[in-house]
């Protein structure tokens, strides 16, 4: 709904209400405060609703303006959605690497090229993350990464789960496999010889300060997947020349949590909390629940910090008229950044109530005596994190998640299909707030690019699934390339 010069209100499915507000203000020549953006049930997000809702909101609001302020609702049907909204950037990466005879990496030259489509969207930021993940979890003192995004006449590309990193990780991991083949070393072994450790430097000069044991993680993944046994078994099986071929492969990678470099400092997220009449608290954040568990995790953190039962915690609907800007719901930052701010706000509330034993009673008493109590806390940049956007030097990310995946596939040479028959993922994800939700995210992450439909059974960190990758699938993602996976494999044979 838009009444120019007076007020614009937008309701919609989105990840970042304040992005929409920021985009609409110049569109209508109004102050941001005059634009109200309310997040409604979002459904899935996956980055696709990070920045593109700005456009849809803008179109809807302009139509409403044209209709004299009448309410306008815009819905894309499936085809319009495919045409107009953003997808993952297709990429092409060239890697040159120099190894010693024993497999030690000495030089790495990476050239990453992204197809940016016809509109700028978030391409530059996607490129940034892609570039920073390009060298993989390997120690190499002489690394050069060149990242470019080019404009093409294609559909728009934008944020999508992983945000440029999966493209880069795929490239470096494929390159490690090929290098292993050239050198006659096992793919697991060549990785082991080059892993990053505490104290090592990443290409940006960032020194790893956390304890990370990639060897242990990889050993665990190899053990769970019976990697060594299966490698020789599959080699034997493939020699027989039947209608199927089997393979097993692994990848090791890291993923930076939160915004790149000085992003968090620039956003300066704010979180507010206030006491409720029931003697609980209400959390006011602009971060959105879209199935990843934001509301559950933030409620857990608030409940634990305030020392109250979780059902006394309310989460306000993200609405720019009511909640402060706690930043966008992207980049695996919500639990880490917003969660910490919620904890700080909770502790501040406790302090104002003079550290009560019984929070609920104290809260009710305070409300009766003094009226509303609301606290606001703001993100404070850590003194240890420095980032220089000009030289791309410094701490690219405040924290990293690490993972080792092992996948088995079976190819049917008759009907041109590939099935993933087993998948093992060992993840170092830091402190888990909610084990069920974390397991949900981890199990769904590898399955998403692999399949559209399958039958399966799995336990949280060990996945056994036959996945038919249907030959019709032609998703433009780096795991499959532009052509269906099965076709490519068929042609190569």
């Amino acid at each position: 709904m838009a009444i120019p010069g007076k007020q614009v209100t937008v309701w919609g499915s989105m990840q970042c209400p304040y992005y929409v507000q920021k985009a609409l203000a110049p569109l209508f020549g109004m102050e941001p405060e005059q634009i109200r953006v309310v997040q409604t049930e979002t459904g899935g997000g996956f980055g696709g609703k990070e920045e593109y809702p700005n456009m849809i909101a803008g179109h809807a609001a302009l139509l409403s303006w044209k209709a004299g302020g009448r309410a306008v609702k815009m819905i894309y049907d499936r085809r319009e959605d495919m045409w107009a909204t953003t997808k993952r950037h297709p990429s092409k990466t060239r890697i040159k690497a120099g190894f010693k005879r024993d497999g030690t990496l000495v030089v790495l030259d990476i050239d990453l090229l992204l197809d940016g489509g016809a509109y700028p969207t978030l391409s530059s930021v996607v490129l940034s993350r892609g570039t920073l993940h390009a060298a993989g979890p390997y120690k190499c003192d002489c690394t050069r990464v060149r990242g470019r995004v080019v404009m093409t006449n294609s559909v728009p590309y934008g944020a999508f789960r992983g945000f440029g990193a999966p493209q880069s990780i795929y490239a470096i991991e494929m390159h490690m496999n090929r290098s292993a083949q050239e050198l006659g070393i096992d793919p697991a072994e060549i990785r082991r010889r080059n892993f990053l450790h505490k104290g090592d430097q990443m290409p940006t000069g960032q020194v790893i300060k956390e304890e990370i044991d990639l060897e242990m993680m990889m050993d665990r993944a190899l053990e769970l997947s019976s990697y060594q046994r299966k490698r020789s078994e599959f080699e034997e099986f493939n020699k027989r020349g039947e209608t199927h071929r089997r393979g097993i492969g692994l990848s090791v990678f890291f993923h930076g949590s939160g915004f790149t470099g000085s992003g968090e400092t620039r956003i300066g997220s704010e979180v507010a909390m206030r006491l409720t009449a029931q003697g609980g608290v209400e959390v006011l954040v602009a971060n959105v629940e879209y199935g990843q568990g934001t509301n559950t995790v933030l409620a857990q953190i608030a409940a634990e910090a305030c020392r109250i039962p979780p059902d006394l915690v309310e989460i306000h609907q993200p609405d720019t008229a009511a909640v402060p800007n706690s930043g966008p719901t992207v980049a695996s930052r919500t639990t880490m950044i917003t969660g910490k701010l919620v904890e700080r706000a909770s502790l501040e509330l406790r302090k104002r109530l003079r550290e009560p034993d019984d929070f609920t009673t104290a809260a009710r008493q305070y409300l009766a005596e003094h009226g509303e109590l609301k606290v606001t806390v703001r993100y404070e940049p850590s003194a240890e994190i420095h980032w220089d956007d000009e030289t791309y030097r410094g701490e690219a990310y405040a924290a990293y998640a690490w993972s080792c995946d092992v996948a088995e596939v079976e190819l049917d040479l008759i009907d041109c299909t590939a099935r993933a028959t087993n998948f093992v993922s060992v993840v170092e994800c830091g402190r888990v707030i909610n084990p069920l939700l974390a397991a949900c995210q981890i199990t769904s992450f590898p399955l998403r690019p692999m399949c559209r439909r399958f039958r399966s059974s799995l336990s949280s960190f060990r996945i056994r699934i036959p996945v038919p990758i249907r030959p019709k699938v032609s998703v433009r993602c780096p795991l499959m390339g532009r052509r269906p996976l099965s076709h490519r494999l068929w042609l190569k044979r």
């Binding site: 049930e41 979002t42 459904g43 899935g44 997000g45 996956f46 049907d77 499936r78 879209y290 199935g291 990843q292 069920l436 939700l437 397991a439 949900c440 199990t443 769904s444 992450f445 590898p446 399955l447 998403r448 399949c451 559209r452 439909r453 399958f454 039958r455 399966s456 059974s457 799995l458 996945i463 699934i465």
Partner: protein
């Protein structure tokens, strides 16, 4: 065109255009918004409901075909303020994430629990329902949990 139909045990008289989708009548005219629209072209299963004991995609049913029929949507599963065992299982096993496929998924699973002979396994029973979040594994676990609960009772 006046049409009467029963949704979750309640009778309704509606006068929509005859080709209006059952999905839109449910959501817009009768405010049963539990049923979701995903693709709108019969591919994703998000709008699944049970009509006279048959599993249907409500985006593919013109309202004129629903005249006099009994429709059960996700809202019709919970009874007496208690969640259906499938809903409880989805909650406990992490079968739901963003929630768009969940109503259709649960309706299709409920149909499977009632008619276990019609599909070979859970995978086949839910083959018409797509999910982009979970990777399906936890959905299958949830249905398995609910079905084992069922056999004990």
């Amino acid at each position: 065109m006046q049409i009467s139909l029963t949704v979750n045990g309640k009778n309704y008289q509606v006068t929509p255009p005859p080709m209006k989708r059952l999905l839109d009548v449910l959501r817009e005219d009768l405010a049963w918004t539990g049923t979701k629209e995903g693709c709108g072209e019969g591919e994703c299963g998000a709008c699944t409901a049970i009509m006279d004991g048959v599993l249907v995609l409500t985006c593919m049913v013109p309202i004129c075909q629903a005249a006099g029929k009994h429709v059960t949507t996700i809202e019709g599963l919970a009874a007496d303020g208690k969640l259906h065992r499938l809903q409880q299982a989805f909650l406990e096993k992490g079968g739901a994430q963003c929630g768009i496929c969940t109503p259709g998924m649960i309706i299709a699973a409920a149909y499977y629990l009632e008619h276990p002979d019609e599909a070979e396994d859970i995978g086949e029973a839910l083959a018409g329902n797509q999910c982009r979040c979970t990777g399906y594994t936890r959905i299958f676990e949830s249905v398995k949990a609910a079905s084992s609960l069922y056999s004990i009772v």
